[in-house]
C-alpha cells in the first residue's frame, strides 16, 4: 500500500481517539509517519490525511509550518547547533565554522555520505551548557572543537548516543549543572 503501512495507519487512528477532535492528533501523527517513511513525501501526507480523516490541505499546511518535519529526505543523524544568544556569547560562531569544515557542508545541508543533516537552531534550553548542540535526541555541551570531533567520530563509528563523550573540563558547578543526570556532558536515556 502506498504511503504508510497498516501498522502506522492504525497507530495514527489510535492517536486520533485520544483527543476530543481527531485533528488534534495531526502533529503526533506526522511524527509517526516520519518515523516510518524517514520524511514526508506527498503520498505519505495523503496517507496521514486518510487515516485521520482530515483534509489533505490541513495536513500539508501543518507539515510545512513546523520545523521538525522533513519535506525532503534528511540524513541519518540530525545535528542542531544552537546559535542563539547564550551560545553566541560563548563562541557558537567558532563552533559553526568548525562544523562546516569538518562536515564539508553548510547549515541546512546534508553531508554527501548522508550521515548528518547539519542545521543551526534557535535556543534549545540548555543555555547553562552553552555553547551546545543536539544530535538526534542527545545534547552536548559546553562544546569545544575537540568535543565536537569526538562526538562526530562516535556517531560515524556507529556508537551513537550510547557512547558518551568524556566529561568536559568543568566550569564550577552551579546547582543545575552539578545535578545533571550522569553528571557528564551528554544527557539522555532516562
Amino acid at each position: 500500500m502506498p504511503g504508510l503501512s497498516e501498522a502506522a495507519r492504525s497507530e495514527i487512528r489510535a492517536l486520533g481517539a485520544r483527543y476530543e477532535q481527531r485533528q488534534s492528533a495531526l502533529l503526533p501523527a506526522l511524527f509517526v509517519a516520519q518515523r516510518e517513511a524517514g520524511w514526508l513525501p506527498p503520498d505519505v501526507l495523503e496517507a496521514v490525511a486518510e487515516a485521520l480523516e482530515v483534509p489533505l490541505s490541513e495536513v500539508a499546511a501543518v507539515a510545512s509550518f513546523y520545523r521538525l518535519y522533513f519535506l525532503r529526505p534528511p540524513g541519518r543523524h540530525q545535528l542542531l547547533l544552537c546559535t542563539n544568544l547564550a551560545c553566541l556569547l560563548n563562541g557558537a560562531d567558532r563552533l559553526r565554522a568548525h562544523l562546516e569544515a569538518r562536515l564539508g557542508v553548510r547549515p541546512g545541508e546534508t553531508t554527501p555520505d548522508g550521515f548528518f543533516t547539519f542545521r543551526t537552531w534557535e535556543c534549545l534550553a540548555w543555555c547553562d551548557h552553552a555553547p551546545m548542540m543536539m544530535v538526534d535526541e542527545e545534547r552536548y555541551g559546553p562544546l569545544t572543537p575537540e568535543l565536537v570531533d569526538e562526538v562526530l567520530a562516535r556517531y560515524r563509528a556507529g556508537a551513537g548516543p550510547a557512547g558518551r563523550p568524556a566529561e568536559p573540563a568543568g566550569r564550577p558547578g552551579s546547582a543545575s549543572r552539578a545535578a545533571e543526570p550522569g553528571g557528564g556532558a551528554a544527557q539522555g536515556g532516562g
Binding site: 485533528q23 502533529l27 511524527f31 544568544l85 547564550a86 556569547l89 552553552a130 564550577p172 552551579s174
Partner: protein
C-alpha cells in the same frame, strides 16, 4: 526543604521517579487538599499568595482560575511547556527533574477549577523532558494520582502529553491552542479570552509549567508563609557569567547580587556591559541598572520587564550591534507571518543589520531602525512582534556609539579592542 521551593527538587537526581517523589513527601499536599478543602478556598489561597504566571506575562494565577465559569460543563487545563524564549530553561529542567511536582500542581489546579481533562504541551526538542513526563504520567495513573476517583475522592483528572514540532510561536497561548487542535500555530484574536473560549471552544485555563510547580508549596506552607519567602522565583542565568544555571531567589533580588554573588560574577578581567532581565524580548539594562530589583514593577519603571526571569549577561567582549542583530534574526525566523508589522518589520530590520555588520551601514540607518521599530510598536497582532522594539530601542539609546563606530569605520570597536594588546584593552 528550607527556604527554597523548587530548587531542592531540581538538585535531586531522582525526583522524576514516583517512589523518590513520594518519599520526599510528594503528593501529600494534593491528598490533604482534595480531602479537606473546598475548591473556592484553593483559588483564594493561590490569589492570596501573590503567585503570578511565570511564562512571561505575569498575570495573577488565582485570578485567572477565578475567571473560569463555574457552571461550564466542559473545561480544560492546558499546561504550556513549550518554553522556547531564548535563554530560558527553567521549565525544561522542571519537566526533566520534577515532573511529578508539575502533576501535583495540575491536580490541585484542576480540583480548584473543576476540570477533568488536561493537556501538557511540551516542546518537541525537549526529548528527555517528554520521556520523563510520560513516565511520570503513567506512574501517576498506576498510583491513583490521576484518572478516576483520585485519592479515593470523587475528583477525576485525565492528562494527555502533547508535543510541538519546532515553532517558537506555539508558546503564545492562543497559538498553542491552535497547535493543540492540529493546525498551524498562529495566534487567535482576543477577546474572547481562552478562559471563556479556549480549547475546542470551551473555557480553558492555560498555565506555565513553573507556575503550577509553585502551587503545592503555596498550599503546604499556606499563602502567607509562601509570600513571606519573597515570593520565590527561578532565574535562568546564562551568557557571560562564571556559573550559568538556575537560581531560586526572592523576587526583588537586585541584578548585581544575582550576577556577582550567586552566578559567580564575570570571567577574570571582564567588565559588565549589559543584561536582558527577562529573556531577549526585554529591554537591555546597563551598568546604571545593576541595583534595580528584579521584580515586575521596578523593571517596568526602567522600561524593561521581568518576563520569564531569564538573565542574559553580556560582558565587555560582546558587540551590542551583533547581539541585537541576532535577536532580530530570531524573531524574524520565528514570526508566524500572520500580521504585516511583524512579518515585514523583522525582515526589514534584519536587512539593515546585515548592512551595519558588513561595513555597509549609513548614518541614516539609525533613524531607519528607529522608524521601523516605532512602526512595529503597538501594531503587532501578538507579543512576538512586540518583542523586538524594546531591546532594539534600548540599544540605540544606550549604545548608539557602537552603531556609529560600525557605520563610520566599517569595523567593530569591541573586536578591535579585544584584538589589541592587553594593556590597551584595560
Amino acid at each position: 526543604m528550607g527556604e527554597r521551593i523548587l530548587l531542592p527538587w531540581l538538585e535531586r537526581d531522582d525526583a522524576f521517579d514516583l517512589e523518590a517523589y513520594l518519599r520526599a513527601g510528594g503528593y501529600e499536599t494534593a491528598r490533604t487538599v482534595l480531602r479537606t478543602m473546598a475548591p473556592a478556598d484553593v483559588i483564594a489561597a493561590v490569589e492570596r499568595s501573590g503567585l503570578r504566571g511565570k511564562g512571561g506575562a505575569g498575570f495573577p494565577t488565582g485570578r485567572k482560575w477565578a475567571f473560569i465559569p463555574k457552571d461550564a460543563p466542559v473545561k480544560y487545563l492546558v499546561v504550556n511547556g513549550d518554553e522556547a524564549e531564548p535563554c530560558t530553561f527553567k521549565d525544561h529542567r522542571l519537566l526533566e527533574r520534577a515532573p511529578h511536582l508539575l502533576l501535583e500542581g495540575m491536580v490541585l489546579a484542576a480540583f480548584a477549577v473543576g476540570i477533568r481533562k488536561a493537556y501538557v504541551y511540551v516542546r518537541r526538542e525537549g526529548y528527555l523532558a517528554r520521556r520523563r513526563l510520560e513516565q511520570a504520567v503513567a506512574e501517576a495513573y498506576a498510583h491513583g494520582v490521576l484518572g478516576r476517583r483520585i485519592f479515593g475522592t470523587d475528583v477525576d483528572l485525565d492528562v494527555v502529553v502533547h508535543t510541538g514540532a519546532g515553532a517558537y510561536i506555539a508558546g503564545e497561548e492562543t497559538a498553542l491552542l491552535e497547535s493543540l487542535e492540529g493546525r498551524r500555530a498562529m495566534p487567535r484574536a482576543r477577546p474572547p479570552y481562552p478562559a471563556v473560549v479556549g480549547l475546542y471552544g470551551q473555557p480553558t485555563v492555560i498555565n506555565n509549567v513553573e507556575t503550577l510547580c509553585h502551587v503545592p508549596a503555596i498550599l503546604r506552607l499556606g499563602p502567607e508563609a509562601y509570600a513571606r519567602l519573597g515570593p520565590p522565583a527561578l532565574f535562568s542565568v546564562s551568557g557571560h557569567v562564571r556559573r550559568p544555571g538556575l537560581y531560586e531567589l526572592p523576587l526583588g533580588t537586585p541584578l548585581r547580587e544575582l550576577i556577582f554573588e550567586h552566578a559567580g560574577g564575570l570571567r577574570p578581567g571582564r567588565r559588565f556591559k549589559a543584561a536582558f532581565p527577562g529573556g531577549s524580548s526585554s529591554a537591555l539594562l546597563t551598568e546604571a541598572h545593576l541595583d534595580v530589583p528584579l521584580d515586575y514593577e521596578p523593571l517596568r519603571q526602567v522600561g524593561s520587564m521581568l518576563g520569564s526571569a531569564s538573565q542574559i549577561v553580556l560582558d565587555d567582549s560582546a558587540c551590542i550591534v551583533r547581539v541585537i542583530a541576532r535577536t532580530v534574526e530570531f524573531y524574524m525566523e520565528e514570526s508566524c507571518g500572520k500580521c504585516t508589522p511583524c512579518r515585514e518589520g523583522t525582515v526589514w530590520l534584519a536587512q539593515v543589520f546585515e548592512r551595519l555588520l558588513h561595513g555597509r551601514g549609513r548614518m541614516a540607518d539609525l533613524d531607519l531602525l528607529q522608524h521601523i521599530s516605532d512602526g512595529m510598536t503597538g501594531a503587532c497582532f501578538c507579543p512576538l512582534g512586540e518583542s523586538v522594539p524594546p531591546s532594539l530601542n534600548a540599544s540605540l539609546r544606550h549604545f548608539r556609539h557602537e552603531y556609529e563606530y560600525h557605520i563610520r569605520t566599517g569595523r567593530c570597536d569591541v573586536e578591535e579592542r579585544l584584538a589589541a594588546p592587553r594593556v590597551a584593552a584595560s
